[in-house]
Symmetry: C2
Subunit: 340 residues, 2 copies
DNA sequence: AAATCGAGAGACAACGTTGTCTTGCAGTAG
DNA sequence: CTACTGCAAGACAACGTTGTCTCTCGATTT
């Protein structure tokens, strides 16, 4: 009674009723004498009683914690942050809260956090896989808690998956550049271990092959500095590409920096995968294949809640289309100036 | 046994030992016969048993949930996102997980989420207040769960507070502009209800007053579009300001857009409060007073953990200094060209 | 007026785990 | 050979709540 926070028992004693009656009042059951309801309410207020969700959920039949887990690459990066926010907005009206974690491309951390969330009995899990195999989920997660993959496909575990149109978006970017007369288009991409990076490369290669062009691929770029160096290297070659397609946000920014340093930002075309703030304010504006992280988060959350509500159907693959936003850098002509 | 997930009891039955022995093994107690430990381990593996953290924490003496709450303005905006990430990084080595929520400047939502987290028994709470009074915390939160305020000061509730040097940073910005010869410096600020906005205004007013200049203040700007309109209005006046000091990220971007539309980006100086990505790649680069959201998150998390570890001391105010980063826009001279 | 019914309120067990106490058994001292 | 010590392992209660069952008492039925 004088220890920690007050319990239902303390309230019952104060109100002079039984424990169970307090429980009924707190849970809004209607079969309680209004006079007793008032006494209980008064006791609750005077003691500042708050129900203990953990104890309640232990005893309840449905065993819901009203919590979901959300594991992203890095909650601090803009893409993940916007996706996170969209998930929160879907969860809010359902009274569900979100436990978050950043994986930093670390498969071990992915497994570790998955296990931690399972111990906490989150009701569901939205995961942007870092590792290449999610087979462990069958062991770590009890069979009744649903999973939705987002941004990246999973392997070894079947579940709803929400993806951007990576192959299609990349193909569109390359076709766009070809439309402006480019014949030598270089691709700068992220680590080959990342599934989305591979898909974007595939989109590039397909179009380049179909058009009979020669591919130029630089991979393994994971940050802005590496991308800048790689771009400088490309530009300094004997036969530099006339256009760049960058596979990711930070790579795009590194490429912009490199183009500036060589004063080539108005002569070498650039299309980047993934939009970023202020892309329109640069000189020239940066043409991008925009993903829609908010739509991805919404779709993932909705799919998860459908599963939590008992939907049993074949795992679905939900594709969120990308949009090409022309802003100038992608509309630089590839035909030699005054060549005819 | 055949229902839901396996419990310690199921493991005990499978291993042929008592429930308590399983508990001891799971908790790594050393007073168990190695042979039994092995039997229990095997049973755990074969059943995929995972301990139920909720039940455990209900019974345990320390009653820790190893969860903290983090309530920010909007987990999707870059400032909050980076701060969130820093908190996660401090929490990770302690095995603590983070429940997040966005307040969207809504005091009611602040209170609602605070209450929700209290029911979940988070061990601590980091809060960027949306409302103007946090007196309710004394009622909603049990006395033993510590709170740290971040980014904005609280009222009506004493606790550690981590703030950026808002007044000092704003003053530095204005002095910087004055140093470049400006006499007519306009301030564009956020909603007056936001404490940080008021502090930045105060910094501006103090320096302007001390220097004997006349203030020009436009307040109530909360998004980029409003800021752009307000800036256009200022520029179109008979005697437009020669320099702008913008009180926040989105306002700075709106101002950049407006300056471009009037072609004044190289003649009107601009310093913005709060850094943003790519500010260095614009033409001219945008001079900013950079906050350090990562340092703020780290400091808040550290303070919280100290309190959770039992530190009892007067509430502290921790100030994270700002840095002026000159990039061009703030170094445009305010003296009429060729005037002497 | 006696028997029946229904509704409100309490007693009790249970959720899955850990703290405490007790038991049993081997090893040691007297 | 008996009594005592020490330690591993089990029995039992408890954490704060809700599901289920039972009880009481006033109201309705015949």
């Amino acid at each position: 009674m004088t220890r920690g926070r007050p319990t239902m028992n303390d309230v019952a004693r104060t109100a002079g009723v039984s424990l169970k009656t307090v429980s009924r009042v707190v849970n809004g059951e209607t079969t309680v004498d209004p006079a007793l309801v008032a006494r209980v309410r008064a006791a609750v207020d005077s003691l500042h009683y708050r129900p203990h969700l953990g104890a309640s959920m232990l005893r309840r039949n449905d065993r819901r914690t009203a919590t979901i887990g959300l594991l992203l690459e890095d909650v601090g990066n803009p893409f993940s942050a916007v996706l996170h926010r969209a998930v929160e907005d879907e969860a809010r009206p359902r009274g569900v809260h979100v436990l978050t974690g950043s994986l930093d491309e670390d498969p071990e951390r992915e497994r570790e956090l998955t296990r931690a969330f399972a111990r906490r009995h989150t009701d569901g899990l939205i995961l942007a896989p870092a590792g290449s195999d999610q087979g462990y989920l069958a062991l770590e997660l009890p069979p009744d808690i649903p999973v939705v993959f987002v941004d990246r496909p999973a392997a070894g575990f079947a579940a709803d998956t929400v993806l951007a149109g990576n192959v299609a978006g990349a193909a569109e970017a390359v076709r766009h550049l070809i439309g402006y007369g480019h014949r030598h288009i270089a691709f700068l991409g992220d680590l080959a271990g990342i599934a989305t990076a591979r898909r974007r490369l595939r989109g590039y290669l397909t179009v380049v092959d179909d058009t009979g062009l020669a591919p130029t691929v630089v991979g393994g770029l994971h940050d802005s500095a590496a991308a800048e160096a790689a771009t400088l290297d490309l530009l300094d070659r004997a036969e530099p590409p006339t256009a760049l397609f960058t596979g990711q946000n930070l790579i795009t920014i590194g490429a912009v920096r490199a183009l500036r340093r060589r004063g080539r930002q108005h002569t070498v075309a650039l299309v980047g995968f993934d939009d970023f703030p202020l892309a329109d304010l640069l000189e020239p504006g940066v043409t991008v294949i925009a993903q829609d992280p908010a739509a991805m988060g919404r779709a993932a959350a909705r799919a998860l809640f459908e599963r939590m509500d008992g939907l049993t159907a074949e795992p679905r693959e939900i594709r969120i289309p990308t949009t090409l936003i022309p802003r100038g850098s992608g509309e630089i002509s590839g035909r030699p100036t005054g060549s005819w």
